[in-house]
């Protein structure tokens, strides 16, 4: 089938880091209206199975394209850049900053106002994430793939930190 079509092609989009989220969501609904297994409930077993596979692929494509870190990784993959899970950035300054942010995260609980401290940290992390996204977009558009890869590794770091902030927020909420 169209296993060969890449995710951007499935959505009729030009490959690139910047994606119109509204257009993506609209096109997603259009495609699922066509291929969701529910549309094939009265069809033959074979067609039902094919629809299931294609709908799963549309979902996978959508999840990859709408999420910035996944999208960046996919773009690099399409460009032939390999990323192994063990790889990490060598940018000492960035790593130092990460360490400090993580220390602050660990200290949130002992602050006099943990909620406010966490909120500040969340805002800072989000700011760093947005800035890094822009950097990735520029590097990738400029064909500087190795540097774009380093930028992606940083995005992964920051995303993980964001998750940790969220988890702590949940814990703090659970305490009251």
């Amino acid at each position: 089938m169209s296993e060969q079509r890449n995710y951007f092609e499935i959505f009729g989009l030009k490959p690139g880091f910047s994606v119109d989220r509204e257009a993506l969501a609209g096109r997603y609904r259009e495609l699922q209206r066509e291929f969701h297994p529910d549309k094939y409930a009265a069809r033959s077993d074979r067609e039902q199975r094919l629809a299931l596979q294609y709908a799963a692929r549309i979902n996978e494509a959508y999840n990859t394209l709408r999420e910035p870190v996944a999208r960046a990784g996919y773009l690099l993959e399409l460009a032939g850049v390999e990323i192994s899970p063990e790889q990490t950035t060598a940018d000492a300054e960035f790593l130092m900053q990460q360490m400090m942010l993580r220390e602050r995260l660990e200290e949130v609980r002992s602050e006099s106002d943990p909620g406010a401290a966490l909120e500040a940290l969340e805002a800072e992390t989000s700011g760093l994430f947005s800035a890094e996204q822009e950097k990735f977009a520029q590097l990738f558009a400029g064909g500087e793939l190795e540097r774009a890869k380093d930028s992606l590794l940083k995005l992964q770091f920051l995303r993980k930190l964001q998750h940790q902030v969220e988890e702590l927020e949940e814990d703090l909420l659970g305490d009251y």
């Binding site: 409930a41 069809r43 033959s44 596979q53």
Partner: protein, 625 residues
């Protein structure tokens, strides 16, 4: 015009004839069935009876089975043989049942073959052991019969609802029960999604909807986005051990405390306290305060006092709401509609708190006991082909993450919770030793890091891997979750292209052989025999297959097939029609298989044609400008 000849014999029903489809809410306490008639969905009542069927099944020593209110009435006098709340045991093992931590009147057993694989619990009754799938099937049979009586014939299909948090084993058990009851399952539908459908379709809503579902023993929250008939579930969450029963327990505890009873009282006293608690809770929906008495003690409980007792539990549900909103990436202010489902949402304090949390008054116009079945009936009507499917599409999610066991008893997540289904994920494995031809994969469901804290779903054994040196074989294992939320696994060795043979050992499920045996057992007391039913089911399947193909041929058979292919297809169809008229179930099945094989390439070409059509007008050029 070869196509006209194909449809001539008329053994299959007219493609555009209205189909008989129902939606079934298979509940813990009560169940009901609904259908769409003259354009609107309504619950079906038994003759001169209510629409509600208590989810109670009684087994007598003579093998007689009673379902519904009559069965529930026997619970007091004959608790061992009266199955109540059986839904809680679906897809559960004996260890789970023990950990429910309450006194259950049942004699749980584990049969010899189940002991080796964990297995689902069974309950000893005077007519022999029964498992939760069989008990649920008895309830479904009664509901199916109501549907047949109301619609005047054999049902073409059913949508059955399950709680959103149901894991794979619980879903599979529900589907098995339907199969045992002789129902063709069109889809397993999540209860909150069904409720949203019931409201959304009636009112033509757009925007974000929150469904707050508080039942007797469980809480569910789902956040959905509705856009031009597409219901996209953004997130779901909840607590499978929190519900209105906990409200009763909290109030009962207060009464015991006020009456100076202490905490240590027998089962009978506890039952009496719970009854008084429940009466007081319901009275406070109407009045400001209610008199309560127990023994010599007389007291008053007012709304404020009850609120103080219930708030800690309601807080818990609201925290789950907060988490669901965050998972959905939606702020509470963005929620346009809040829908209440479940009997426990009748409690005033719950409504107040939900209203203040979301900042808007919740909907409860549709009877909270019926709303789920009504939504299911609406979807069944679409799936069976009565209503254009352009009007309604449900995009649901997997409620719990799926993972596999790795070294050291850790889980590696493959599919994260709240991922839209259907979904497939491939993972590569390699061999450990030279010449290794088999390996085992343990699949678990849950959010925790340690395997022991997650739910074991199944162990898959791959066999037939071509012998190679260690690490040379690359086995690509694909985990697929279908639109019912059910997992299936396929495996292939990449370099040789050999597909590995997989055997599944469900941790808490039933194997196909079990289902067949149960089906046979169920006929010891029934009029219809196994063979007759097999023929009937094979015929229905044959009709479905022929009809689907006829529609497909009329659509684009001439376009996509050459004359030779068309002839071959016609022959296979004719052979199936002949088998259909005969009375041999195996022969019908064989002919269906053959026809499926012959029409396989046609199905693939049709799919490709659909893909091409969907891509038209969305070429890359359009975006270049």
């Amino acid at each position: 015009m070869a196509l006209l000849q194909i449809s001539e014999p008329g053994q299959t029903p007219e493609p555009h004839q209205r189909k008989r489809a129902v939606g079934i809410d298979l509940g813990t306490t009560n169940s009901l069935v609904a259908t769409v008639r003259s354009g609107s969905a309504e619950a079906i009542e038994a003759e001169g009876d209510s629409v509600i069927l208590p989810s109670a099944v009684h087994y007598s020593a003579d093998g007689a089975v009673t379902v519904g209110a009559a069965a529930r009435e026997r619970a007091g006098a004959d608790p061992y043989n009266t199955m109540l709340s059986i839904k809680r045991f679906m897809g559960r093992g004996i260890g789970d049942v023990k950990s429910f931590g309450e006194q259950l009147p049942y004699r749980f057993v584990q049969s010899a073959d189940e002991a080796t694989k964990g297995g689902m619990v069974a309950i000893e009754t005077d007519s022999g052991p029964v498992n939760p799938v069989q008990v649920s099937a008895e309830i479904l049979k009664v509901l199916a019969e109501r549907g047949r009586a109301a619609l005047g014939g054999e049902l073409d299909g059913a949508v059955i609802t399950v709680p959103a948090y149901f894991d794979d084993a619980q879903r599979q058990a529900t589907k098995d029960a339907a199969q045992l009851a002789g129902l063709h399952v069109l889809r397993l539908l999540n209860e909150p999604t069904a409720a949203a459908v019931a409201y959304g379709l009636d009112q033509g809503e757009e925007g974000v909807i929150a469904v707050y579902d508080l039942g007797g023993g469980t809480f569910d929250i789902s956040i959905l986005r509705l856009s031009r008939g597409v219901f996209e579930v953004l997130s779901t969450g909840g607590d499978s051990a929190l519900g209105g029963d906990d409200f009763d327990r909290a109030i009962a505890g207060w009464i015991a405390d006020q009456a100076g009873l202490g905490t240590d009282h027998d089962v009978i006293a506890q039952r009496a306290l719970l009854d008084r608690a429940c009466v007081a809770k319901e009275a406070l929906a109407e009045r400001e305060s209610v008199a309560v008495e127990y023994g010599d003690w007389h007291g008053v409980l007012d709304r404020e006092g009850m609120a103080a007792l219930l708030d800690p539990m309601i807080d818990k549900t609201l925290r789950a709401c907060k988490r669901a909103l965050r998972d959905a990436g939606v702020a509470a202010e963005e929620v346009k509609e809040v829908v209440l489902v479940g009997g426990s949402t009748r409690t005033l304090r719950v409504r107040e708190r939900v209203e203040s949390f979301f900042g808007r008054a919740p909907h409860a116009d549709i009877d909270p006991d019926q709303v789920v079945a009504i939504g299911a009936a609406l979807q069944a009507d679409v799936l069976v082909g009565n209503k254009s499917s352009d009007d309604l599409l449900l995009l649901d999610v997997i409620p719990l993450s799926l993972g596999i066991e790795t070294m050291g008893g850790l889980t590696e997540k493959l599919i994260a919770r709240n991922t839209t289904i259907p979904v497939a994920k491939a993972q590569e494995f390699t061999t450990f030793k030279d010449g290794q031809t088999a390996m085992a994969i343990h699949v678990v469901q849950g959010e925790r890091e340690l395997v022991q804290d997650c739910r074991s779903l199944a162990r898959f054994e791959l066999r037939g891997i071509p012998p190679m040196t260690a690490g040379a074989a690359h086995i690509r294992v694909t985990f697929q979750v279908d639109a019912d939320g059910l997992l299936s696994v396929t495996a292939m060795e990449k370099s040789s292209g050999v597909s590995a043979d997989i055997t599944v050992k469900p941790s808490y499920g039933l194997e196909d052989a079990d289902i067949t045996r149960m089906l046979q057992d169920s006929y010891t007391h029934a009029e219809e025999d196994v063979a007759a039913r097999a023929v009937r089911e094979a015929r229905v399947e044959a009709e479905r297959t022929l009809e689907a193909l006829l529609v497909a041929l009329q659509e684009n058979g001439a376009e996509l097939l050459d004359e030779g292919e068309l002839n071959e297809l016609e022959k296979a169809m004719e052979a199936l029609r002949l088998a259909h008229n005969g009375g041999d179930a195996d022969e019908i099945r064989r002919r269906i298989e053959t026809l499926n094989d012959v029409s396989g390439p046609f199905a693939a070409r049709r799919m490709d044609a659909s893909i091409k059509r969907a891509m038209q007008g969305h070429t890359l050029d359009e975006f270049d400008q």
